[in-house]
């Protein structure tokens, strides 16, 4: 399993992520880039703050990638996640997956981001003009 997992406080490097997953055995790469949206349910967002339990987050992402490599014939998979303060348009997460055939790349990439949002100990606080809230904390 060829994988790379990094948690950064600095801006993520899209070009480096894509270059890392490319391989001569691959026919396709699927990449998901999360971006900070300017509104949540119609309410303007000023900024986000991301906090991670770094060591455990890397462990949990590694489990997800292992599952993905077991389920699909992949070449390489990469997850970079950012922490700290991010403004609108900035990039909290990049997931990139290469595979001989595109179906595997698409399905694995989507599985990784969906599962990451459910199990990986990273938290996001949204700052609005009139207050702030930890996402998903309350029903």
């Amino acid at each position: 399993m060829q994988s790379q997992i990094e948690i950064h406080t600095e801006p993520l490097n899209i070009q480096a992520c894509i270059a890392w997953v490319m391989s001569p055995e691959s026919g396709g790469i699927d990449i998901f880039i999360g971006t900070v949206r300017n509104a949540t349910k119609g309410k303007p967002v000023v900024k986000l703050e991301f906090e991670a339990y770094n060591q455990m987050a890397v462990n949990e992402i590694n489990k997800i990638l292992k599952q993905a490599f077991e389920r699909w014939p992949l070449q390489k998979a990469l997850v970079h996640h950012r922490t700290g303060t991010l403004h609108v348009g900035e990039i909290p997460v990049i997931i990139a997956v290469s595979a001989a055939h595109r179906d595997a790349a698409f399905e694995a990439c989507r599985y990784i981001i969906d599962t990451l949002k459910q199990t990986v100990p990273i938290w996001k606080k949204e700052f609005f003009e009139d207050g702030e809230v930890w996402v998903a904390a309350h029903p």
């Binding site: 999360g34 991301f50 906090e51 991670a52 339990y53 060591q55 455990m56 987050a57 462990n59 996640h81 909290p92 997460v93 981001i113 990451l116 949002k117 459910q118 199990t119 990986v120 100990p121 990273i122 938290w123 996001k124 606080k125 930890w134 996402v135 998903a136 904390a137 309350h138 029903p139």
Partner: protein
């Protein structure tokens, strides 16, 4: 025994800090005992959609035993990505 507990996200706000210590009566406490103790001290914890305990960087079952040597963390609902 005294357990040091790491807190993240809204749990950090509820505890008023990233690290708190919790006194658990004996040396064979479980994560369930820890939850009871924390919820008594911080009633707001019960208002969360849910929360988990992690022991040594792994999600722990409710019956899991904790010792003073373990790294224990409170994991409120995650929202990365």
């Amino acid at each position: 025994m005294e357990i040091t507990v790491l807190a993240f996200g809204i749990a950090k706000d509820i505890f008023g800090g990233q690290l708190i210590t919790v006194e658990l009566g004996d040396s064979t406490a479980t994560t369930a005992d820890l939850k009871v103790s924390l919820e008594a001290r911080y009633p707001k914890l019960k208002q969360l959609a849910s929360y988990m305990v992690a022991v040594n960087n792994e999600y722990a079952e409710d019956g899991g035993v904790i010792t003073e040597l373990d790294e224990v963390a409170i994991i409120p609902p995650v929202s990365g990505g």
